[in-house]
């Protein structure tokens, strides 16, 4: 008996010891990394192959050089992987030339046929193959020249092919390796290439010694100086910042506002900022009471005090009144000012509109009623959206001040999106983040949404026209008119654009930050 217990206990403890130590040794063995640039981010990539992902990640920007670029100021088309880009005067085609010496990291030459095959794979494979819908034909003019013929001029198409999604991949290797293997170790053209991806932990990138960069605003047009880059996936923001402060991470691309003060106080860290190219807005369900009444929607819009919101959110937001954020292409300050004049904070007018809609406070409890029913609504907000989560109770109080009782419900943001798609909500805070305003075509145009959440034939027409307007001022005017209609009908209330923070340790220099948050490492060095 005694010996049996002893044996069983010993066996159990030895098994635990072996699992623990053996597993620790197993996981410890392979993971020591050479000195390298270490970047920390919260979200892990879905796949290393940008043509298979639903959401792109910082990593994809590092391993995929786009065909063209809009530049750090997002103001004009420039070459990137292509050494030159010519847009036909009528907008009917783009001609891209590629350097003759262009190669993948493994030495495989990149020709116009390679690029064409990559684009065709993207169209067939990617969830966003529709980015290339404007294209009618890809013509290989010569081994280093590819012409993209368009069905009609498409201004938004230029931005789509200036993102990492247009990065060139070796389609032949993708075919031979299979989707799964290629998703773990794709053959891409960019400043770095994937060396090893430790699932759930980090991805190690090594320099592409065959890389040629044609961006005019970078000094170094060849391989980057930093040999190795490690992108660590650290889901907890507190832990992420601790690693940064300790010097284990050199760059954090999404510094949480809760730890901003700690990061700002560190003399070894530079804090760069950019305005999020998008907006956060509060959807109102126009399909059911009370927001089927325009006056109630207008009252909500007028009750939001964005300056108070900004102050309460530690000035980490830029108030937005129109449809586009200040960092988005086609943003018009004049339009923004005009809509602010119309829908800016005006509590008295908000109360008046509610009264006109039949809502009055008959029992003195501070909440208005109509036909004996109090004006009570729910506000869905993403629990994984820190800024929206902080804004929600402030909005709740602001609406309470005009007599609307708001219950804030927190859910995973993916579920908030689901609720709005199912029209199972009263109010919901959502956001859009895409520099090109054509994203609103996907959100509002009734051909894309079956008019589910809201649509208007006037905005449909303007959004369609904006797609073919190559002149920036014409395109801006179209979106301004869309913003005017939104301000008139108020299917949603724009709230703010977030200020984003990028922390870079001072021993890393030469990193260029674009207005859309893109980091350019061509001239970067690490001491």
């Amino acid at each position: 008996m005694h010996s049996r217990l002893g044996k069983v206990l010993s066996l159990a403890l030895v098994a635990a010891l072996v699992a623990g130590v053996g597993g620790a040794a197993l996981v410890g063995c392979a993971k020591k990394q050479p000195t390298s640039l270490v970047i920390g981010t919260v979200e892990e990539i879905e796949s290393a192959d940008v043509q298979q992902v639903n959401w792109d990640n910082f990593v994809h920007m590092m391993i995929n050089d786009p065909l063209i670029t809009m530049g750090p100021k997002m103001d004009k088309v420039m070459p990137s992987a292509a050494s030159s880009v010519e847009i036909a005067p009528d907008g009917s085609s783009l001609t891209l030339k590629f350097p003759a010496e262009m190669k993948f990291a493994d030495g495989t030459p990149i020709t116009a046929d390679t690029v064409k095959a990559s684009i065709e794979r993207y169209i067939a494979t990617s969830p966003y193959g529709s980015d290339w819908d404007p294209m009618s034909e890809l013509v290989v003019v010569d081994p280093h020249t590819l012409q993209i013929k368009l069905k009609e001029p498409a201004a938004y198409f230029l931005y789509a092919i200036s993102t990492c999604y247009s990065g060139i991949v070796d389609a032949a290797k993708a075919q031979s390796m299979g989707k799964e293997a290629f998703g773990r170790a794709p053959v891409t053209y960019g400043p770095w290439v994937v060396k090893e991806w430790q699932q759930g932990s980090q991805i190690t990138l090594v320099r592409n010694d065959n890389f040629i960069d044609n961006k005019p605003f970078v000094k170094n047009k060849g391989p980057v100086a930093i040999e190795t880059a490690v992108v660590r996936f650290i889901p907890d923001t507190f832990t992420l910042v601790q690693e940064l402060l300790k010097g284990n991470v050199d760059i954090v691309v999404d510094v949480p506002t809760e730890q901003l003060a700690q990061v700002q106080a560190d003399p070894n860290i530079t804090l760069e900022t950019y305005i999020e190219p998008g907006t956060h807005y509060m959807y109102l369900n126009t399909h059911r009471p009370p927001f089927d009444d325009l006056r109630v929607r207008q009252a909500v819009a007028l009750a939001i005090n964005r300056d108070e919101l900004k102050s309460a959110l530690d000035n980490a937001i830029i108030p937005v009144y129109g449809t586009l954020g200040p960092a988005q292409i086609c943003f018009s300050q004049a339009t923004e000012d005009a809509i602010k004049a119309k829908l800016g904070f005006n509590q008295a007018k908000a109360k008046q509109l509610l009264a006109e809609a039949g809502y009055t406070d008959t029992n003195g409890d501070g909440i208005v009623e109509k036909n004996g029913k109090p004006l009570s609504v729910t506000l869905a907000v993403g629990s994984d959206r820190p800024m929206d989560k902080k804004a929600a109770p402030i909005i709740q109080q602001q609406l309470k001040a005009i007599g609307i009782d708001v219950a804030v419900n927190e859910y995973e943001y993916s579920y908030v999106r689901q609720l709005t798609r199912d029209l199972n909500f009263d109010m919901a805070i959502r956001n859009v983040k895409w520099p090109d305003p054509d994203i609103w075509y996907s959100i509002l145009d009734s051909s894309q949404t079956d008019g589910k959440i809201w649509s208007d034939p006037r905005t449909d027409k303007l959004l369609e026209e904006s797609r073919t307007a190559m002149d920036l001022s014409v395109r801006t005017e179209k979106f301004s008119q869309v913003a005017d209609i939104i301000a008139e009908e108020v299917p949603f209330v724009s709230l703010y654009s977030q200020t984003e923070y990028v922390a870079i340790r001072k021993n890393v220099t030469g990193v260029i930050l674009g207005v859309d948050g893109t980091l350019y490492f061509n001239d970067a060095t690490k001491k």
């Binding site: 002893g6 069983v8 159990a12 597993g23 969830p127 799964e180 660590r232 907890d236 832990t239 601790q242």
Partner: protein, 312 residues
């Protein structure tokens, strides 16, 4: 005993099957589907429908389950809808980390709890006993995330003994393991203490003392040996819980275990991944339960006779 084990394992297969059916049904109750959850506004409605068709999400629920079961019985856990990677690959890359963390946490828990529980029982009502119980109760009450951050600040930031997060060697596992161990310690310690207190009052202990055995020999060879029977069974029952992974600990310390993968997959309804992980946990739970029963029978003749008597 062997027949008993075989019967229990056979029943366990039915349990695993039932778990998969229930899980499948519960996941279907969640609104929407993974394509709609992961898509951003750029995805056209046509593409969404194409992807739903590609993944079989437009099929009736029972058809989807049948195809999953058919693949599973051939050893194919399917492919993740979100990442496009085989579920078996995703699990295999994370399982060593989960085993390492669970194994070390269990080892530390029992290595600390059993001696401390014995000491607390022997020194019952002394300052030492009260101190041990007090500290263990506090540890039991402390939220895991708070404890993890506290340990990180003390032992990785202020006094940099261990890495803050991720893995960079064997030392990386210590803080996550301690975070799992310390709250669990209390339960095992209190169980050991109460079992030892009960055993110490048995007549055979008095007999052992009367025979002139030294106190140490009485405690270790007689008292502890009987008191540890339920504690040993607890060991086997704890294993599946730890193998399921602790999302909180894995998130705080960026530990790439199965827990975080499961949590993320549930959020986006990546059903193949959720099914795969839950099946593994269910199988391990069944095996652990059977192992616990067998161990109990081996250690305690009364239980073994009951089992064997039941077979007759």
């Amino acid at each position: 005993m062997f027949e008993y084990a075989v019967r229990k394992l056979a029943f366990g297969v039915l349990v695993v099957f039932a778990v998969t059916v229930i899980l499948f049904a519960v996941m279907q109750l969640m609104p929407g589907d993974p394509i709609r959850l992961i898509a951003n506004p750029r995805m056209t409605p046509e593409k969404m429908e194409q992807l739903r068709h590609q993944w079989g999400l437009d099929q009736p629920v029972y058809v989807q389950y049948f195809f999953w079961l058919a693949r599973f019985l051939h050893g194919d856990f399917g492919t993740s809808i979100v990442t496009g990677q085989p579920v078996s690959f995703l699990i295999a890359t994370r399982l060593p980390y989960t085993l390492a963390l669970a194994g070390l946490a269990l080892l530390l828990e029992y290595a600390l709890a059993v001696p401390l529980g014995l000491i607390a029982a022997v020194k019952q009502n002394s300052a030492l006993d009260r101190g041990i119980v007090f500290v263990s109760t506090i540890l039991w009450s402390v939220p895991t995330f708070w404890l993890g951050i506290l340990l990180m600040l003390l032992l990785a930031v202020k006094i940099p003994v261990f890495p803050i997060s991720g893995y960079s060697g064997p030392l990386s596992i210590v803080l996550p393991a301690l975070t799992l161990t310390l709250p669990a310690l209390a339960g095992t310690l209190r169980l050991t203490r109460s079992e030892v207190l009960e055993a110490v009052r048995e007549p055979y202990v008095l007999t052992a003392y009367a025979k002139g055995l030294p106190s140490r020999a009485v405690l270790i060879r007689h008292v502890l040996r009987n008191a540890l029977i339920p504690v040993t069974m607890m060991f086997f029952l704890s294993l599946p819980w730890l193998l399921g992974g602790s999302v909180v600990v894995e998130s705080i310390f960026s530990w790439p275990g199965m827990g975080r993968l499961l949590w993320k997959s549930i959020g986006v309804q990546d059903l193949p991944v959720v099914q795969g992980i839950v099946v593994i946990i269910a199988v391990l739970t069944v095996i652990s339960n059977v192992a616990g029963d067998i161990v109990a029978g081996l250690l305690d003749p009364r239980i073994r006779l009951e089992i064997e008597g039941g077979e007759r």
